[in-house]
Amino acid sequence: MKRLIMGNEAVAMGALKAGMTFFAAYPITPASEIMHILAEKEGEIVFLHAEDEIASIHLVIGGSLAGRKAMTSTSGPGMSLKQEGIGLAHMMEVPLVVVDVQRVGPSTGMPTLPSQGDIIQSIHGSHGDYNPIVLYPSSVEECYRYTIEAFNAAEESRSPVVLLLDGFLAHLSETVDLDRVSVEIKPRTLAPLGHGKRHFTGLLAKDGVPLTKDSLYYREWYGRVKTKMLETAMNYRFYEYLKNDQADTLLIAYGIVFRVILPLKKEFSLFKPVSLFPVLEKEIQAAASGHKRIVVIEMNDGQYRGEIQKVLPREVLGISVLGGTISLKEIRERLHDL
Protein backbone atom coordinates (compact mmCIF):
# COMPACT_ATOMS: atom_id res chain seq x y z
CA MET A 1 0.00 0.00 0.00
CA LYS A 2 1.24 3.48 -0.86
CA ARG A 3 1.72 5.74 2.13
CA LEU A 4 3.30 9.07 2.96
CA ILE A 5 6.31 8.15 5.06
CA MET A 6 9.13 10.09 6.65
CA GLY A 7 12.79 9.01 6.37
CA ASN A 8 13.11 8.27 10.07
CA GLU A 9 9.90 6.23 10.00
CA ALA A 10 11.21 4.20 7.06
CA VAL A 11 14.36 3.42 9.07
CA ALA A 12 12.28 2.17 12.00
CA MET A 13 10.12 0.07 9.69
CA GLY A 14 13.14 -1.30 7.86
CA ALA A 15 14.69 -2.34 11.15
CA LEU A 16 11.53 -4.18 12.19
CA LYS A 17 11.36 -5.81 8.78
CA ALA A 18 14.97 -6.96 9.14
CA GLY A 19 14.03 -8.71 12.38
CA MET A 20 15.39 -6.21 14.87
CA THR A 21 13.99 -6.96 18.32
CA PHE A 22 16.32 -4.88 20.48
CA PHE A 23 16.57 -1.11 20.39
CA ALA A 24 18.19 1.32 22.80
CA ALA A 25 18.80 5.01 22.25
CA TYR A 26 18.84 8.49 23.75
CA PRO A 27 16.70 11.28 22.29
CA ILE A 28 18.32 13.77 19.93
CA THR A 29 17.17 15.92 17.04
CA PRO A 30 16.91 15.02 14.17
CA ALA A 31 16.90 11.27 15.02
CA SER A 32 14.25 11.13 17.75
CA GLU A 33 11.34 9.98 15.57
CA ILE A 34 13.06 6.61 15.10
CA MET A 35 12.88 6.22 18.87
CA HIS A 36 9.31 7.47 19.14
CA ILE A 37 8.08 4.99 16.57
CA LEU A 38 9.93 2.06 18.10
CA ALA A 39 8.75 3.00 21.60
CA GLU A 40 5.26 2.06 20.42
CA LYS A 41 6.55 -1.46 19.83
CA GLU A 42 7.72 -2.02 23.39
CA GLY A 43 6.69 -5.50 24.39
CA GLU A 44 7.08 -6.87 20.89
CA ILE A 45 10.69 -5.71 20.99
CA VAL A 46 13.02 -4.75 23.80
CA PHE A 47 12.93 -0.95 23.83
CA LEU A 48 15.14 1.10 26.11
CA HIS A 49 15.39 4.84 26.51
CA ALA A 50 18.87 4.79 28.04
CA GLU A 51 20.58 7.33 30.29
CA ASP A 52 22.92 8.41 27.50
CA GLU A 53 24.41 7.35 24.17
CA ILE A 54 27.30 5.49 25.78
CA ALA A 55 24.78 3.34 27.61
CA SER A 56 22.65 2.83 24.50
CA ILE A 57 25.46 1.45 22.36
CA HIS A 58 26.60 -0.83 25.17
CA LEU A 59 23.04 -2.02 25.88
CA VAL A 60 22.79 -2.84 22.19
CA ILE A 61 26.08 -4.77 22.30
CA GLY A 62 24.69 -6.83 25.19
CA GLY A 63 21.37 -7.28 23.42
CA SER A 64 23.09 -8.53 20.29
CA LEU A 65 25.45 -10.86 22.14
CA ALA A 66 22.48 -12.43 23.89
CA GLY A 67 20.77 -13.22 20.60
CA ARG A 68 18.75 -10.35 19.17
CA LYS A 69 19.27 -8.20 16.12
CA ALA A 70 19.90 -4.82 17.69
CA MET A 71 20.07 -1.16 16.71
CA THR A 72 20.68 2.28 18.17
CA SER A 73 20.07 5.68 16.58
CA THR A 74 21.47 9.12 17.24
CA SER A 75 22.89 12.30 15.72
CA GLY A 76 26.44 13.72 15.66
CA PRO A 77 26.83 14.59 19.35
CA GLY A 78 25.58 11.13 20.31
CA MET A 79 27.64 9.50 17.58
CA SER A 80 30.73 10.96 19.22
CA LEU A 81 29.70 9.34 22.50
CA LYS A 82 29.03 5.99 20.86
CA GLN A 83 32.49 5.71 19.38
CA GLU A 84 33.85 3.81 22.36
CA GLY A 85 31.19 1.13 21.97
CA ILE A 86 31.59 1.00 18.21
CA GLY A 87 35.27 0.18 18.69
CA LEU A 88 34.36 -2.51 21.21
CA ALA A 89 31.85 -4.05 18.81
CA HIS A 90 34.51 -4.16 16.08
CA MET A 91 36.98 -5.80 18.45
CA MET A 92 34.48 -8.36 19.78
CA GLU A 93 32.89 -8.81 16.32
CA VAL A 94 29.35 -8.03 17.40
CA PRO A 95 26.74 -7.43 14.67
CA LEU A 96 24.59 -4.35 15.20
CA VAL A 97 23.39 -1.23 13.40
CA VAL A 98 24.10 2.38 14.37
CA VAL A 99 22.02 5.07 12.69
CA ASP A 100 23.51 8.56 12.65
CA VAL A 101 21.17 11.30 11.44
CA GLN A 102 23.63 14.12 10.83
CA ARG A 103 23.18 17.73 11.87
CA VAL A 104 25.54 20.68 11.72
CA GLY A 105 28.49 20.50 14.12
CA PRO A 106 30.92 20.60 15.77
CA SER A 107 29.41 20.20 19.22
CA THR A 108 25.77 21.21 19.62
CA GLY A 109 26.16 23.22 16.43
CA MET A 110 22.94 23.78 14.54
CA PRO A 111 20.66 21.06 15.92
CA THR A 112 17.78 21.38 13.50
CA LEU A 113 19.76 21.86 10.31
CA PRO A 114 21.01 18.99 8.16
CA SER A 115 24.64 18.22 7.45
CA GLN A 116 26.95 15.50 6.22
CA GLY A 117 29.68 16.30 8.69
CA ASP A 118 30.07 12.82 10.19
CA ILE A 119 31.51 11.07 7.14
CA ILE A 120 34.99 10.72 8.58
CA GLN A 121 33.66 10.18 12.09
CA SER A 122 31.74 7.19 10.78
CA ILE A 123 34.98 5.43 9.82
CA HIS A 124 37.62 6.94 12.06
CA GLY A 125 35.64 8.02 15.11
CA SER A 126 36.93 5.28 17.37
CA HIS A 127 40.63 4.81 18.04
CA GLY A 128 42.74 2.23 16.25
CA ASP A 129 42.36 0.73 12.79
CA TYR A 130 39.10 -0.81 11.67
CA ASN A 131 37.23 -1.02 8.38
CA PRO A 132 33.52 -0.40 8.84
CA ILE A 133 30.73 -0.70 6.32
CA VAL A 134 28.82 2.58 5.99
CA LEU A 135 25.63 3.02 3.97
CA TYR A 136 23.88 6.28 3.12
CA PRO A 137 20.43 6.25 1.48
CA SER A 138 19.05 9.18 -0.46
CA SER A 139 15.30 8.64 -0.51
CA VAL A 140 12.64 7.46 1.90
CA GLU A 141 12.34 4.17 0.08
CA GLU A 142 16.09 3.76 0.26
CA CYS A 143 15.99 4.48 4.01
CA TYR A 144 13.85 1.39 4.34
CA ARG A 145 15.79 -0.76 1.91
CA TYR A 146 19.23 0.10 3.19
CA THR A 147 18.28 -0.25 6.83
CA ILE A 148 17.52 -3.88 6.00
CA GLU A 149 20.77 -4.15 4.07
CA ALA A 150 22.64 -2.62 7.01
CA PHE A 151 21.34 -5.44 9.20
CA ASN A 152 22.33 -7.98 6.56
CA ALA A 153 25.81 -6.51 6.29
CA ALA A 154 26.12 -6.45 10.09
CA GLU A 155 25.24 -10.12 10.31
CA GLU A 156 27.46 -11.16 7.46
CA SER A 157 30.45 -9.14 8.63
CA ARG A 158 29.74 -9.54 12.34
CA SER A 159 30.43 -5.89 12.89
CA PRO A 160 28.66 -2.64 13.74
CA VAL A 161 27.37 -1.19 10.47
CA VAL A 162 26.72 2.54 10.27
CA LEU A 163 23.68 3.89 8.44
CA LEU A 164 24.10 7.59 7.77
CA LEU A 165 21.20 9.94 7.16
CA ASP A 166 21.01 13.70 7.22
CA GLY A 167 18.42 15.77 9.01
CA PHE A 168 16.85 16.67 5.68
CA LEU A 169 16.32 13.09 4.52
CA ALA A 170 15.24 11.97 7.99
CA HIS A 171 12.40 14.50 7.94
CA LEU A 172 11.59 14.20 4.26
CA SER A 173 8.18 12.67 3.58
CA GLU A 174 7.61 10.73 0.38
CA THR A 175 4.87 8.48 -0.92
CA VAL A 176 6.20 4.97 -1.09
CA ASP A 177 4.92 1.43 -1.19
CA LEU A 178 7.18 -0.43 1.18
CA ASP A 179 5.45 -3.75 0.49
CA ARG A 180 6.96 -3.65 -2.95
CA VAL A 181 10.49 -3.32 -1.66
CA SER A 182 11.89 -6.79 -1.54
CA VAL A 183 15.19 -7.44 0.16
CA GLU A 184 16.42 -10.83 1.28
CA ILE A 185 16.80 -10.94 5.05
CA LYS A 186 19.91 -12.58 6.47
CA PRO A 187 19.58 -14.77 9.55
CA ARG A 188 21.63 -14.29 12.69
CA THR A 189 25.23 -15.40 12.47
CA LEU A 190 26.35 -15.12 16.10
CA ALA A 191 25.47 -17.99 18.45
CA PRO A 192 23.85 -16.29 21.46
CA LEU A 193 25.40 -16.15 24.91
CA GLY A 194 24.59 -18.97 27.22
CA HIS A 195 25.78 -21.98 25.31
CA GLY A 196 29.38 -22.40 26.19
CA LYS A 197 32.47 -20.91 27.62
CA ARG A 198 33.34 -18.29 25.07
CA HIS A 199 35.09 -15.16 26.22
CA PHE A 200 34.35 -11.92 24.39
CA THR A 201 36.87 -9.20 25.14
CA GLY A 202 37.93 -5.77 23.96
CA LEU A 203 41.54 -6.89 24.37
CA LEU A 204 43.43 -8.45 21.52
CA ALA A 205 42.70 -12.13 22.12
CA LYS A 206 43.06 -15.49 20.45
CA ASP A 207 40.23 -17.95 21.12
CA GLY A 208 39.19 -15.86 24.10
CA VAL A 209 42.65 -15.69 25.65
CA PRO A 210 44.17 -12.18 25.79
CA LEU A 211 47.43 -11.83 23.85
CA THR A 212 48.24 -8.24 24.54
CA LYS A 213 51.97 -8.21 23.88
CA ASP A 214 52.12 -10.25 20.68
CA SER A 215 52.72 -7.85 17.80
CA LEU A 216 52.93 -10.62 15.21
CA TYR A 217 49.59 -11.98 16.30
CA TYR A 218 48.10 -8.49 16.11
CA ARG A 219 49.16 -8.29 12.46
CA GLU A 220 47.68 -11.68 11.71
CA TRP A 221 44.46 -10.83 13.54
CA TYR A 222 44.14 -7.44 11.88
CA GLY A 223 44.69 -8.98 8.47
CA ARG A 224 41.98 -11.53 9.06
CA VAL A 225 39.44 -8.97 10.27
CA LYS A 226 40.24 -6.51 7.49
CA THR A 227 39.89 -9.22 4.86
CA LYS A 228 36.60 -10.28 6.39
CA MET A 229 35.30 -6.72 6.23
CA LEU A 230 36.46 -6.08 2.67
CA GLU A 231 35.16 -9.41 1.41
CA THR A 232 31.77 -8.94 3.03
CA ALA A 233 31.56 -5.44 1.65
CA MET A 234 31.85 -6.91 -1.85
CA ASN A 235 28.27 -8.13 -1.37
CA TYR A 236 27.06 -4.65 -0.42
CA ARG A 237 28.11 -2.42 -3.30
CA PHE A 238 25.21 -0.08 -3.77
CA TYR A 239 25.32 2.96 -6.02
CA GLU A 240 23.57 4.69 -8.86
CA TYR A 241 25.40 5.95 -11.92
CA LEU A 242 23.59 8.25 -14.34
CA LYS A 243 25.90 8.57 -17.31
CA ASN A 244 25.46 11.56 -19.60
CA ASP A 245 27.28 10.94 -22.87
CA GLN A 246 27.55 14.66 -23.57
CA ALA A 247 29.03 15.55 -20.21
CA ASP A 248 32.69 16.18 -19.52
CA THR A 249 32.12 16.52 -15.78
CA LEU A 250 31.15 13.82 -13.29
CA LEU A 251 29.36 14.98 -10.14
CA ILE A 252 29.58 12.73 -7.10
CA ALA A 253 27.01 13.28 -4.35
CA TYR A 254 25.23 11.20 -1.75
CA GLY A 255 22.26 11.47 0.58
CA ILE A 256 20.06 14.52 0.24
CA VAL A 257 22.62 16.34 -1.93
CA PHE A 258 22.14 13.78 -4.68
CA ARG A 259 18.42 14.42 -4.60
CA VAL A 260 18.92 18.15 -4.83
CA ILE A 261 21.28 17.94 -7.80
CA LEU A 262 19.31 15.29 -9.68
CA PRO A 263 18.00 17.86 -12.20
CA LEU A 264 21.63 18.47 -13.23
CA LYS A 265 21.70 15.09 -14.94
CA LYS A 266 20.81 16.90 -18.18
CA GLU A 267 24.20 18.60 -18.17
CA PHE A 268 26.40 16.30 -16.09
CA SER A 269 27.06 12.66 -15.31
CA LEU A 270 26.01 11.84 -11.75
CA PHE A 271 27.36 9.18 -9.42
CA LYS A 272 25.65 8.43 -6.13
CA PRO A 273 27.43 6.05 -3.76
CA VAL A 274 25.08 4.43 -1.24
CA SER A 275 27.90 2.29 0.07
CA LEU A 276 30.18 5.08 1.23
CA PHE A 277 32.68 2.75 2.91
CA PRO A 278 34.61 0.80 1.93
CA VAL A 279 34.87 3.26 -0.97
CA LEU A 280 33.55 1.84 -4.26
CA GLU A 281 36.97 2.18 -5.80
CA LYS A 282 36.43 0.25 -9.05
CA GLU A 283 33.02 1.72 -9.74
CA ILE A 284 34.20 5.26 -9.10
CA GLN A 285 37.32 4.82 -11.20
CA ALA A 286 35.20 3.43 -14.04
CA ALA A 287 32.73 6.30 -13.84
CA ALA A 288 35.54 8.86 -13.65
CA SER A 289 37.23 7.63 -16.82
CA GLY A 290 35.94 9.52 -19.80
CA HIS A 291 35.27 12.64 -17.73
CA LYS A 292 37.53 15.66 -17.67
CA ARG A 293 36.48 16.90 -14.28
CA ILE A 294 35.33 15.15 -11.13
CA VAL A 295 33.43 17.23 -8.58
CA VAL A 296 32.26 15.98 -5.20
CA ILE A 297 29.40 18.01 -3.78
CA GLU A 298 28.69 17.54 -0.11
CA MET A 299 27.40 19.23 3.04
CA ASN A 300 30.78 19.30 4.77
CA ASP A 301 34.18 20.74 4.00
CA GLY A 302 35.42 18.07 1.63
CA GLN A 303 35.33 14.97 3.80
CA TYR A 304 34.32 12.50 1.09
CA ARG A 305 36.23 14.37 -1.59
CA GLY A 306 39.39 13.42 0.32
CA GLU A 307 38.35 9.77 0.21
CA ILE A 308 37.65 9.92 -3.53
CA GLN A 309 40.97 11.65 -4.07
CA LYS A 310 42.66 8.62 -2.50
CA VAL A 311 41.32 6.33 -5.22
CA LEU A 312 41.66 8.66 -8.22
CA PRO A 313 45.14 9.62 -9.44
CA ARG A 314 44.13 13.10 -10.53
CA GLU A 315 42.65 16.24 -9.08
CA VAL A 316 39.21 15.88 -7.56
CA LEU A 317 37.30 19.14 -7.15
CA GLY A 318 34.79 19.81 -4.45
CA ILE A 319 31.88 22.01 -3.56
CA SER A 320 31.28 22.36 0.17
CA VAL A 321 27.73 23.26 1.08
CA LEU A 322 28.06 24.45 4.65
CA GLY A 323 25.77 25.65 7.39
CA GLY A 324 22.75 23.45 6.82
CA THR A 325 21.17 25.17 3.81
CA ILE A 326 21.27 23.74 0.31
CA SER A 327 19.81 24.99 -2.97
CA LEU A 328 20.13 23.86 -6.54
CA LYS A 329 20.54 27.47 -7.62
CA GLU A 330 23.60 27.95 -5.44
CA ILE A 331 25.15 24.68 -6.60
CA ARG A 332 24.56 25.61 -10.25
CA GLU A 333 26.31 28.93 -9.72
CA ARG A 334 29.23 27.41 -7.91
CA LEU A 335 29.65 24.76 -10.60
CA HIS A 336 29.71 27.54 -13.11
CA ASP A 337 32.44 29.35 -11.15
CA LEU A 338 34.64 26.27 -10.67
Binding site: F22, H58, L59, G63, G196, H199, F200, V209
Partner: protein
Amino acid sequence: MIYKDYVKWDRMPTNWCPGCSIGTVFRHLTLALEKAAVPREQMVVVSGIGCSGRAAGYFNVDSVHVTHGRAIPVAEGIKRSNEKLKVIVFSGDGDLVGIGGNHFLHSARRDSDIKVICINNGIYGMTGGQMAPTTPFGEKTLTSPFGTSYAPLNIQGIVTSNARYWYARTSSYHVNHLLKCLGEALEWPGFAFIEVMSFCIENFGRRQGFKNGFDMLFKLKQDYKLNPKPDGLLKNHELGVVKNVGQAS
Protein backbone atom coordinates in the same frame (compact mmCIF):
# COMPACT_ATOMS: atom_id res chain seq x y z
CA MET B 1 28.28 -29.03 39.20
CA ILE B 2 30.90 -28.21 41.77
CA TYR B 3 32.60 -24.88 42.23
CA LYS B 4 35.71 -25.96 40.34
CA ASP B 5 33.66 -26.39 37.18
CA TYR B 6 33.02 -22.65 37.07
CA VAL B 7 36.75 -21.95 36.81
CA LYS B 8 38.67 -21.74 33.55
CA TRP B 9 41.68 -23.63 34.81
CA ASP B 10 43.71 -23.21 31.65
CA ARG B 11 43.72 -19.45 32.33
CA MET B 12 45.42 -19.91 35.70
CA PRO B 13 47.42 -18.30 37.22
CA THR B 14 45.45 -15.07 37.28
CA ASN B 15 47.11 -11.69 36.81
CA TRP B 16 46.33 -10.72 40.41
CA CYS B 17 49.31 -9.84 42.61
CA PRO B 18 50.40 -12.03 45.52
CA GLY B 19 48.51 -10.84 48.59
CA CYS B 20 45.52 -9.55 46.61
CA SER B 21 42.07 -10.60 47.71
CA ILE B 22 40.17 -10.44 44.42
CA GLY B 23 40.81 -14.19 44.11
CA THR B 24 39.05 -14.77 47.42
CA VAL B 25 35.93 -13.09 46.10
CA PHE B 26 36.23 -14.97 42.81
CA ARG B 27 36.47 -18.28 44.66
CA HIS B 28 33.49 -17.51 46.85
CA LEU B 29 31.41 -16.61 43.86
CA THR B 30 32.11 -20.05 42.39
CA LEU B 31 31.07 -21.56 45.73
CA ALA B 32 27.86 -19.52 45.72
CA LEU B 33 27.15 -20.63 42.15
CA GLU B 34 27.62 -24.27 43.15
CA LYS B 35 25.26 -23.80 46.06
CA ALA B 36 22.64 -22.07 43.94
CA ALA B 37 23.17 -24.77 41.28
CA VAL B 38 23.33 -22.28 38.44
CA PRO B 39 23.94 -24.21 35.19
CA ARG B 40 26.96 -22.95 33.31
CA GLU B 41 24.89 -22.56 30.16
CA GLN B 42 22.45 -20.25 31.88
CA MET B 43 24.76 -17.60 33.14
CA VAL B 44 27.04 -14.86 31.87
CA VAL B 45 29.72 -12.90 33.70
CA VAL B 46 30.49 -9.37 32.55
CA SER B 47 33.48 -7.29 33.63
CA GLY B 48 34.80 -3.85 32.86
CA ILE B 49 38.43 -2.77 32.98
CA GLY B 50 40.74 -3.01 35.97
CA CYS B 51 42.34 -5.76 38.03
CA SER B 52 38.90 -6.81 39.27
CA GLY B 53 37.69 -6.54 35.70
CA ARG B 54 39.88 -9.43 34.66
CA ALA B 55 37.58 -11.80 36.56
CA ALA B 56 35.17 -12.45 33.67
CA GLY B 57 37.88 -14.22 31.69
CA TYR B 58 38.56 -16.68 34.48
CA PHE B 59 35.02 -18.06 34.61
CA ASN B 60 34.36 -21.18 32.62
CA VAL B 61 31.10 -19.77 31.28
CA ASP B 62 30.22 -17.37 28.48
CA SER B 63 31.76 -14.11 29.58
CA VAL B 64 32.22 -10.59 28.29
CA HIS B 65 35.09 -8.23 29.11
CA VAL B 66 34.02 -4.79 27.95
CA THR B 67 35.40 -1.24 28.02
CA HIS B 68 36.10 0.76 31.18
CA GLY B 69 32.87 1.49 33.04
CA ARG B 70 30.46 -0.23 30.67
CA ALA B 71 29.95 -3.60 32.32
CA ILE B 72 26.56 -2.60 33.70
CA PRO B 73 24.92 -1.49 30.43
CA VAL B 74 26.28 -4.51 28.53
CA ALA B 75 25.01 -6.78 31.31
CA GLU B 76 21.62 -5.09 31.35
CA GLY B 77 21.42 -5.45 27.57
CA ILE B 78 22.18 -9.17 27.86
CA LYS B 79 19.59 -9.67 30.56
CA ARG B 80 16.86 -7.75 28.75
CA SER B 81 17.69 -9.63 25.57
CA ASN B 82 17.42 -13.05 27.21
CA GLU B 83 15.57 -13.11 30.52
CA LYS B 84 16.57 -16.73 31.14
CA LEU B 85 20.22 -15.87 31.70
CA LYS B 86 21.60 -15.17 35.15
CA VAL B 87 23.76 -12.11 34.55
CA ILE B 88 26.57 -11.26 36.94
CA VAL B 89 28.81 -8.21 36.84
CA PHE B 90 32.21 -8.55 38.50
CA SER B 91 34.32 -5.40 38.45
CA GLY B 92 36.14 -2.72 40.38
CA ASP B 93 35.06 0.40 42.25
CA GLY B 94 36.63 2.84 39.81
CA ASP B 95 35.05 0.99 36.94
CA LEU B 96 31.54 0.63 38.35
CA VAL B 97 30.95 3.77 40.37
CA GLY B 98 33.57 6.11 38.88
CA ILE B 99 33.61 6.09 35.09
CA GLY B 100 30.52 3.85 35.02
CA GLY B 101 28.69 5.86 37.68
CA ASN B 102 25.91 7.09 35.46
CA HIS B 103 25.09 3.57 34.29
CA PHE B 104 25.15 2.32 37.87
CA LEU B 105 22.74 5.07 38.93
CA HIS B 106 20.27 4.35 36.14
CA SER B 107 20.46 0.59 35.94
CA ALA B 108 19.72 0.54 39.68
CA ARG B 109 16.81 2.92 39.13
CA ARG B 110 15.48 0.67 36.35
CA ASP B 111 15.87 -2.25 38.76
CA SER B 112 17.50 -4.29 36.01
CA ASP B 113 17.82 -7.91 37.01
CA ILE B 114 21.60 -8.08 37.23
CA LYS B 115 23.86 -8.95 40.16
CA VAL B 116 26.74 -6.52 40.58
CA ILE B 117 29.81 -7.52 42.57
CA CYS B 118 32.04 -4.53 43.21
CA ILE B 119 35.57 -4.98 44.54
CA ASN B 120 36.04 -1.84 46.60
CA ASN B 121 39.78 -1.54 47.14
CA GLY B 122 39.49 2.25 47.45
CA ILE B 123 41.88 2.81 44.55
CA TYR B 124 42.51 2.50 40.84
CA GLY B 125 44.67 -0.57 41.24
CA MET B 126 45.53 -1.55 37.71
CA THR B 127 46.79 1.86 36.63
CA GLY B 128 49.18 2.21 39.54
CA GLY B 129 47.21 3.65 42.43
CA GLN B 130 45.30 6.79 41.59
CA MET B 131 42.46 8.19 43.71
CA ALA B 132 39.13 6.41 43.18
CA PRO B 133 35.71 7.87 44.05
CA THR B 134 35.84 5.43 46.97
CA THR B 135 39.23 6.49 48.36
CA PRO B 136 38.83 7.45 52.03
CA PHE B 137 39.10 11.15 52.89
CA GLY B 138 42.65 12.38 53.37
CA GLU B 139 44.43 9.38 51.83
CA LYS B 140 47.49 9.98 49.72
CA THR B 141 47.48 8.46 46.26
CA LEU B 142 49.29 9.21 42.99
CA THR B 143 46.67 11.80 42.10
CA SER B 144 46.13 13.07 45.63
CA PRO B 145 49.72 13.44 46.85
CA PHE B 146 48.57 15.82 49.62
CA GLY B 147 45.66 13.61 50.64
CA THR B 148 42.19 13.45 49.03
CA SER B 149 40.01 16.44 49.75
CA TYR B 150 36.71 14.66 49.08
CA ALA B 151 34.63 12.17 51.00
CA PRO B 152 34.16 8.77 49.33
CA LEU B 153 31.03 8.04 47.37
CA ASN B 154 28.12 6.72 49.40
CA ILE B 155 27.27 3.65 47.33
CA GLN B 156 24.73 2.36 49.83
CA GLY B 157 22.99 5.74 49.74
CA ILE B 158 22.67 5.64 45.97
CA VAL B 159 21.33 2.08 45.78
CA THR B 160 18.90 2.59 48.63
CA SER B 161 17.54 5.85 47.24
CA ASN B 162 15.38 3.66 44.98
CA ALA B 163 11.98 2.35 46.02
CA ARG B 164 13.13 -1.21 45.50
CA TYR B 165 16.67 -2.25 46.26
CA TRP B 166 19.07 -4.89 47.49
CA TYR B 167 22.46 -3.82 48.78
CA ALA B 168 25.10 -5.68 50.75
CA ARG B 169 28.35 -4.50 52.22
CA THR B 170 30.71 -7.32 53.01
CA SER B 171 34.47 -7.81 52.99
CA SER B 172 37.10 -10.12 51.61
CA TYR B 173 38.07 -10.95 55.19
CA HIS B 174 34.54 -11.92 56.30
CA VAL B 175 34.26 -14.78 53.84
CA ASN B 176 31.29 -16.57 55.41
CA HIS B 177 29.33 -13.38 55.24
CA LEU B 178 30.62 -12.80 51.71
CA LEU B 179 29.35 -16.23 50.65
CA LYS B 180 25.97 -15.61 52.29
CA CYS B 181 25.64 -12.26 50.52
CA LEU B 182 26.58 -13.74 47.15
CA GLY B 183 24.01 -16.51 47.59
CA GLU B 184 21.29 -14.06 48.54
CA ALA B 185 22.15 -11.74 45.66
CA LEU B 186 21.87 -14.59 43.16
CA GLU B 187 18.33 -15.22 44.38
CA TRP B 188 17.19 -11.59 44.51
CA PRO B 189 14.76 -10.78 41.68
CA GLY B 190 16.12 -7.42 40.58
CA PHE B 191 19.16 -5.19 40.83
CA ALA B 192 21.50 -6.46 43.52
CA PHE B 193 24.70 -4.66 44.45
CA ILE B 194 27.41 -6.19 46.63
CA GLU B 195 30.14 -3.87 47.77
CA VAL B 196 33.06 -6.05 48.84
CA MET B 197 35.39 -4.02 51.02
CA SER B 198 38.82 -4.99 49.87
CA PHE B 199 42.35 -3.66 49.58
CA CYS B 200 45.26 -3.30 47.24
CA ILE B 201 48.66 -3.96 48.77
CA GLU B 202 50.85 -3.22 45.76
CA ASN B 203 49.47 0.10 44.58
CA PHE B 204 47.89 1.56 47.71
CA GLY B 205 48.73 -0.31 50.90
CA ARG B 206 52.50 -0.02 50.60
CA ARG B 207 52.25 3.76 50.38
CA GLN B 208 50.05 3.74 53.47
CA GLY B 209 52.71 1.83 55.39
CA PHE B 210 51.32 -1.70 55.21
CA LYS B 211 53.94 -4.43 54.97
CA ASN B 212 51.87 -7.09 53.22
CA GLY B 213 48.41 -8.20 52.14
CA PHE B 214 47.84 -10.06 55.35
CA ASP B 215 48.11 -6.88 57.41
CA MET B 216 45.57 -5.24 55.16
CA LEU B 217 43.26 -8.21 55.51
CA PHE B 218 43.62 -7.94 59.25
CA LYS B 219 42.70 -4.26 59.05
CA LEU B 220 39.41 -5.26 57.43
CA LYS B 221 38.75 -7.53 60.38
CA GLN B 222 39.42 -4.67 62.78
CA ASP B 223 37.49 -2.05 60.87
CA TYR B 224 34.25 -3.86 60.03
CA LYS B 225 31.64 -5.49 62.24
CA LEU B 226 28.75 -7.60 61.09
CA ASN B 227 25.28 -6.25 61.67
CA PRO B 228 22.89 -9.13 60.97
CA LYS B 229 19.75 -7.02 61.46
CA PRO B 230 20.41 -3.43 60.51
CA ASP B 231 17.88 -0.92 61.75
CA GLY B 232 17.66 1.24 58.65
CA LEU B 233 20.87 1.68 56.73
CA LEU B 234 24.30 0.27 57.57
CA LYS B 235 26.64 2.53 59.50
CA ASN B 236 30.06 3.22 57.97
CA HIS B 237 31.83 0.35 59.67
CA GLU B 238 29.05 -2.20 59.47
CA LEU B 239 28.66 -5.12 57.12
CA GLY B 240 25.24 -6.47 56.29
CA VAL B 241 22.37 -6.54 53.85
CA VAL B 242 19.72 -3.87 53.39
CA LYS B 243 16.81 -4.45 51.08
CA ASN B 244 13.36 -3.28 50.21
CA VAL B 245 10.85 -5.21 48.14
CA GLY B 246 8.83 -2.03 47.63
CA GLN B 247 7.34 -1.24 44.24
CA ALA B 248 8.64 1.58 42.13
CA SER B 249 6.43 4.63 42.51
